[in-house]
Symmetry: C2
Subunit: 576 residues, 2 copies
C-alpha cells in the first residue's frame, strides 16, 4: 500500500499526486450514476475523487480524458487461467488491456496434472504481474475419484496446506456436489477445512434445486456458474447465493435485471475462455459489452464486474473509485461499446489502446516437473487396435457427443474389432500420461464427422490424459508421438502427416507464448480438424470427451464411465 | 457453529430440524421481496429455506406463524452500550425482545474511565449472552488529549493489544479527524495499527467535506454517523462511505431512498440511547419502524438494519435468512408497526412478546476497579467558591449551551466571585475523579433555567469526570458527596435534600440493573431537575457540558476550552 503519510498529504492537496485523471465522467458503481470527476492517485492508492475545477490537483502526470469515462478495473471472481493456454504472464498481457485488473483463479487443470506443485507454480508465476491474481484452491482433484486417474489426488491435507499460501482466499468450485450432499468423506473433509478457516467456499452444481440445493448451501458453499433462466437467477438470489454469470448466460441475466432492477448478488465471470475466442471477442469485457448492448444500464453492467465481485471476494479495497481504495481503474474511450483506452493497476498505467506498455515478467518460470509432464512412451499403431476373443464384438458406441449410447455388432479381423469400414465411426482412446500407471481405454464414437486421420490433445478435462480420436491407427500413433515429443498440446494428423500442432509444453496445458500466437495455433488446428471432416467444435470434442461429470457416457483412462450411475461399463463385449 | 454432519442431514430432510418456523411470509432483504416460506434450523444455523408444503420439514419444535412475517435479526453496527447505563447482560435483556440480535459496540465510555480493563470487561461481560456482541476498539481516549484528563490515555500500543482480543473487528469512531488529517502522531499511529491488521476503520466527523473529507477517507476510515441531508447522504455514498443513520436522521434517509431507490451503503445505527428513551421508544427497532412509517418499503427498511450492516461488519454469515447462515431471525407480529413476536438467536427462541424467556447471565462481573472508580474526596461547599484577588472579576459566561460566550463583570465578596444574586446564572464545575490529579475547574453558565439546588453526574462525555451544576454551594457539595458515596451516577439536590439519585456504581457509568429500573430512575431525575427550574433536557445539559469536541466553549477538569482554537482560556479574570 501507498506510504500513509504521503497518501494523506496528496489527499489534502499539500503534495502533488503521482497521477491525476481529469475531464472524464466517472461511472459510480455504488450510486449507479455517471458524473464528471477528477481522480488523484498516490502510489497504488486513490487519494481523492473531487469535482472538476478543484484547484489542488497538481500532479507529476496528468491524463486529460475529456469525452471519456472512468470505471473501476474489472474483477473476474471465477476463472481458470489454463483455459487460455497461456502462462500467467502472457495471460495478463492479453486481458489487462481489456480492462481486467483482478482475477480469482482456480488452477484446477494444473492441479490435476502436477498437484500442489502446479498450484504453487500458478500462484508464484502470477506474483508481481500488473494484474492482481487471487487464488482459490482446487477441491476436486480428480473430479471423480475412482473413475479416472489424474496426475494428483487432493485430500483435505493438500487443500489445507494450499489454503495457507499467499493470496489464497478459499475453496474453488466444489464440483463434487453429490459428495457434499451425501457426505462423502474426502470432499466433506475438504469443505470442513475451508469452513474452519472461514474461507470463501465457491461451488459448481448442475441442475440442483430444492432440498439438495439447500443442503449444498447449508455446507457453506454459496455460488455457482451454471447457466440459469431468469427465474433460476431469482431463485438462487433468494437463497443468498452469489450468481456467477458466464458469457453465454448474459441475456438471461439482463432479462432478470430488466424484471427486477438491481441485482446485488450478480457477478460476471469468464470460467473458461480459449485463446482464439479471447483474441476475437475478449475476456470479462465481453460480459460488460454484451450487457450494455442488451440494454442494461452501464453502471449496473459494470457493477457486476467490479463492486459485486469485490464484495464477494471480501476485498473492500477493490471495485470502486473512491479515496483510500486501490487505484485499479480504467479510462474508457467509448462506454456503449466498452472500449478500454487505458488500464491503470495499482496506480500505474500498464496498458493503452489494447497494448501493454511493457510485456509482463512472471514471478517464476515453470518447474521442471511441468516441462516434463508426458510420462508415457508413444503408443504404436498396433496398440490402437481393440482386441478380443471370438468373431464378433458388441460395441457400445457413443452418440450425440456422449449423451447417448448405441449397441453395434462389429466383426473381428485378426483378433481386432474391424470398425474402420463404418464411415460414421471413429475410435476414441484415452492414455494415462502422468506416470502413475499404464492405463488406456478405447471406445467408438459416432457422428463426429471425422473422415480421415486423427486428432489428439493433452488438455482433456479434468485429468488431462492423452486423448486421441481417429480413423486410422497409424495417424493416431503419429499424433500421440507428436504430442509426447512437444510436451503436450493439440495435434491434427492425416495420411501420415502432421497437419497442425499447438505445442503446450507446460504440463501439456500451457505455453509460454503470447495469447495471439496461441490463437493462431488454435485457428490452424480447428481449420485442420474441419478439413478432416469434423463437423462440431473440435476443441470441445476433444476437451470434454473424457470428463466423467458431463452426462451421460465418457471414456477415461479407466474405461467407459456411465456418468449417471458413476460406474464403469464395458465398451466392447466379445462373443469368444 | 452447528455440527456439520447433522446440519447437512437436517438440510436434506433425513433428520428432523431442531426448530421449524412455518406459515409466515419471509421478508427477503436480498431480493427485497416478501413471500411465504418455511425455515428449518439445526442448532445455531439455518439448514433450509423452502416453499410451504415441503413434506420433509419435521422438527422437534414447530412455530406456526400464519399471518406473521419472518425477518433477519437486527444488527446495530455502531453503538455504545454504556449510553443505556446498563451492564451488557441487562442491555441484552432490553434490546433482544425488540429484535436486536447483533451489536457492534464501541465501549468508549468505559475506556475513558478504566482504560483497557474497561474494554476487556465490556467484552467479557458480553460473552455467552443471547446477543452477538462484536467490539470496536475505542481510538480517542481521551477525545482531546491535553484539554481534558480522563481515566486512561490510549496510544497505538493499547489499541493494538485490544485489537488482538476476541470478537474485536476494528477501530471505533476516529473522532479526532483533525488529528488524522493533520497527521498528529498519536491518532496516526492508531490508524496505522488498524490498517496493518486490515481491520474495519470507522469514523465520526463533523461537517467535513471536500479535500479534508477525502483525506480522512484516504486514511481508510470510511463511515460516519453525523446527521446528514439527503444531498449529504448521496455525496458520501458516492465516495464509497458507509452512511450510518441515527434515529434523528431517518426522515432524510427515507427522502434520499425515495429519490434514488436502493441505498446499498445505508445502515441504521443507534449510537446513544438513554434508558428512558429505550423503554419508551425502543432501540434499533425504532429506525425500522420509523422508516416504514415514512413510506420506505419494509424490505429496504429492514435491509439497512440486517444485510447492509452484516456486509459492513464483514460477516457474510449474518443478515439474511438463507441456508448455511446463522439462525438469528425474528417472527414479526405486524410488519407495518414492526412489532416483534419472537426473537431467535443462534437457533434459540430467547424472547417472546417483549419479554426475555430467561434473564441473561453476564460472562463476568465488573472488576474491582469498576466498582471503586470515584477517586476523589467529596469537595466541601467552600471549595465551590471561585476565589481571586481584587474587587471585581470579569467572567466568561457560557450561553446557548456553550455555543456562545458573554463577558460579565461580577463583584467579589470575601475574595470569592459573587454570582448567586444573578438569577440567570449557575456555576458549572468539573472535578477530576480518576485519581490522576486533583484538577477542578469552574465556569458560569447562563440560561440553564436552574433556580435552586444542584445537579451532578459522573457520566460526562468523554472523560466522565464529576460534573456539578448548581445555584448553591452547599447543595453542590451534597450532590458530589451523594455520587461519590454511590460510586457515581446522577443526582439532584435542593435545599439540603437529595431529590433524586440514579446510582451508577459500575465505573460511575453503569448499573447492574434492568433498563426499566434505570428508566424509572432517569425519569425521576429529569422530573426533579425540571422542578429545580431546568428548562432544557437536563441529561444533555450535564453529559455534553464537558465535551471539548462540541463547539464552541466547554469546561473540562483542566479549565475552559475554546473548542475551535483547541486551547484553554481563563473563565475568570480578576482585577486585583
Amino acid at each position: 500500500m501507498a506510504d500513509y503519510e504521503r497518501l494523506l498529504r496528496v489527499a489534502r492537496g499539500s503534495e502533488p499526486a503521482d497521477l491525476v485523471v481529469r475531464g472524464a465522467d466517472l461511472v459510480n458503481v455504488v450510486t449507479r450514476e455517471v458524473y464528471p470527476a477528477t481522480v488523484g492517485i498516490c502510489e497504488d492508492t486513490i487519494a481523492y475523487v473531487t469535482e472538476p475545477g478543484d484547484i489542488h490537483c497538481s500532479a507529476r502526470q496528468v491524463i486529460e480524458a475529456a469525452g471519456m469515462w472512468l470505471a473501476p478495473g474489472l474483477i473476474d471472481s471465477h476463472m481458470h487461467i489454463e483455459s487460455t493456454h497461456a502462462t500467467p504472464e502472457h495471460f495478463a498481457d492479453a486481458v489487462v488491456p481489456r480492462g481486467v485488473t483482478t482475477v480469482a483463479q482456480d488452477p484446477h487443470e494444473m492441479a490435476n496434472v502436477l498437484g500442489c506443485e502446479g498450484v504453487e507454480y500458478m500462484r508464484c508465476a502470477a506474483r508481481g504481474l500488473p494484474l492482481r491474481v487471487l487464488t482459490f484452491v482446487p477441491t476436486c482433484v480428480p473430479a471423480v475419484p475412482g473413475l479416472e486417474t489424474s496426475g494428483a489426488a487432493f485430500t483435505a491435507r493438500e487443500v489445507e496446506a494450499l489454503l495457507d499460501g499467499p493470496d489464497t482466499i478459499g475453496l474453488a468450485e466444489v464440483m463434487d456436489y453429490w459428495g457434499v450432499i451425501r457426505q462423502a468423506p474426502r470432499i466433506s473433509e475438504i469443505v470442513r477445512a475451508g469452513r474452519r478457516r472461514g474461507a470463501i467456499l465457491t461451488g459448481h452444481i448442475r441442475g440442483l434445486g430444492g432440498r439438495e440445493l439447500n443442503t449444498y448451501l447449508a455446507a457453506g458453499i454459496d455460488s455457482d456458474h451454471e447457466r440459469l433462466t431468469p427465474g433460476g437467477i431469482l431463485a438462487r438470489t433468494r437463497l443468498g447465493m452469489t450468481v456467477e454469470i458466464t458469457r453465454d448466460n448474459i441475456a438471461e441475466a439482463v432479462e432478470s435485471w430488466h424484471q427486477r432492477g438491481g441485482l446485488d448478488n450478480l457477478v460476471w465471470v469468464t470460467d473458461d475462455v480459449p485463446p482464439h475466442e479471447l483474441v476475437r471477442e475478449g475476456h470479462l469485457d465481453v460480459a460488460v459489452r454484451r450487457a450494455i448492448a442488451l440494454g442494461m444500464a452501464p453502471a449496473d453492467a459494470l457493477r457486476a464486474a467490479t463492486l459485486a465481485p469485490a464484495l464477494r471476494l471480501r476485498r473492500p479495497d477493490l471495485g470502486q473509485i473512491a479515496p483510500g481504495r486501490r487505484a485499479d481503474l480504467l479510462v474508457i474511450g467509448d462506454l456503449a461499446s466498452f472500449s478500454v483506452h487505458l488500464t491503470i493497476v495499482s496506480g500505474r498505467i500498464v496498458a493503452c489502446d489494447g497494448q501493454m506498455l511493457q510485456p509482463s515478467q512472471p514471478g517464476c518460470r515453470p518447474p521442471a516437473a511441468a516441462l516434463h509432464s508426458m510420462h508415457r512412451m508413444p503408443p504404436s499403431p498396433d496398440q490402437m487396435a481393440v482386441r478380443g476373443p471370438g468373431r464378433t464384438a458388441l460395441a457400445r458406441v457413443l452418440t450425440g457427443r456422449g449423451r447417448g449410447l448405441e449397441l453395434r455388432e462389429l466383426p473381428l479381423a485378426s483378433g481386432a474389432v474391424a470398425w474402420e469400414d463404418r464411415p460414421d465411426l471413429a475410435l476414441a482412446t484415452v492414455w494415462h500420461r502422468h506416470g502413475l500407471n499404464q492405463n488406456h481405454s478405447a471406445v467408438l464414437i459416432a457422428g463426429s464427422g471425422l473422415r480421415v486421420g486423427a486428432l489428439a490433445t493433452t488438455y482433456a478435462h479434468d485429468s488431462h490424459n492423452l486423448v486421441i480420436v481417429g480413423r486410422d491407427s497409424a495417424d493416431m500413433a503419429l499424433a500421440a508421438r507428436a504430442l509426447i515429443d512437444s510436451g503436450g498440446g493439440y495435434a491434427a494428423v492425416a495420411e501420415g502427416q502432421l497437419r497442425a500442432l499447438v505445442p503446450l509444453p507446460v504440463a501439456g496445458l500451457l505455453a509460454e507464448a503470447p495469447v495471439t500466437e496461441l490463437a493462431r495455433g488454435f485457428d490452424a488446428f480447428v481449420e485442420a480438424a474441419h478439413a478432416l471432416g469434423v463437423t462440431e467444435n473440435p476443441i470441445r470434442l476433444l476437451t470434454s470427451l473424457a470428463l466423467p461429470v458431463v452426462p451421460s457416457y465418457r471414456p477415461t483412462d479407466l474405461g467407459l464411465v456411465d456418468v449417471e450411475r458413476q460406474t464403469i461399463i464395458p465398451a466392447f463385449e466379445f462373443d469368444g
